[in-house]
């Protein structure tokens, strides 16, 4: 166990929500497990589109 990290049961409680148009741009979702945190894991989401 890393210092400063909690050790109890794990659940999914954090989300990135998107509108339908934004959902269609999503290419990747993961969590940033390298970030120093207490009990919540930061989420990140990659989107891709071309500007006209």
């Amino acid at each position: 166990m890393q210092p400063g990290h909690s050790s109890g049961s794990k659940y999914r409680r954090d989300y990135i929500l998107t509108s339908k148009a934004a959902f269609e741009l999503v290419t990747w979702v993961d969590f940033d497990t390298t970030f120093c945190h207490d009990d919540h894991v930061p989420l990140w989401l990659q989107v891709q589109d071309a500007a006209e």
């Binding site: 050790s7 109890g8 999914r12 989300y15 929500l17 339908k20 959902f23 009990d39 919540h40």
Partner: protein
């Protein structure tokens, strides 16, 4: 293009909600940050009976209606609630947890929002985002009488 390229407007802010609009020419999108109240905190700060929690989600949906003007919206939320494929197509089966209440799913349906991390073709890695903190009491604090 970087974040400095955008005109950023704070549309709404309170201790649990933040709505921002970002504009660059014809490109307009919204970023929303939410921290939903938690039912399990049943005493002291954070006391929220289920009706109050449902009211919070309903009021948040009203704020969406008032402030969201673009089709492009990203919402970053500590929902304090599980979700599963019961609310398909808004949420998928990946990493599903049985919801005990429907407030989050109903919020997704009402606003036509989607949860990419619940779909296997988007999400990689583990699904858990939150760890229940164990209360550890030092042995010296126990009283043996």
């Amino acid at each position: 293009m970087t974040i400095r390229s955008f005109r950023i407007t704070t549309q709404c802010a309170d201790p649990r909600r933040f709505f921002a609009c970002l504009e660059h020419g014809s490109l307009v999108f919204h970023l929303v940050v939410l921290h939903a109240p938690c039912l399990s905190k049943n005493k002291g700060y954070g006391t929220r009976p289920i009706d109050a929690i449902a009211g919070w989600w309903k009021e948040t949906a009203r704020l969406f209606t008032d402030h969201i003007t673009s089709d492009l919206v990203w919402v970053f939320v500590d929902a304090n609630a599980p979700i599963n494929q019961e609310f398909s197509p808004h949420a998928g089966a990946a990493g599903s947890e049985e919801p005990t209440r429907k407030v989050l799913g109903e919020f997704l349906q009402a606003l036509t929002l989607f949860v990419p991390s619940t779909f296997e073709h988007f999400h990689h890695g583990p699904h858990a985002t939150w760890t229940l903190q164990r209360l550890q009491v030092p042995q010296g604090l126990y009283s043996h009488q």
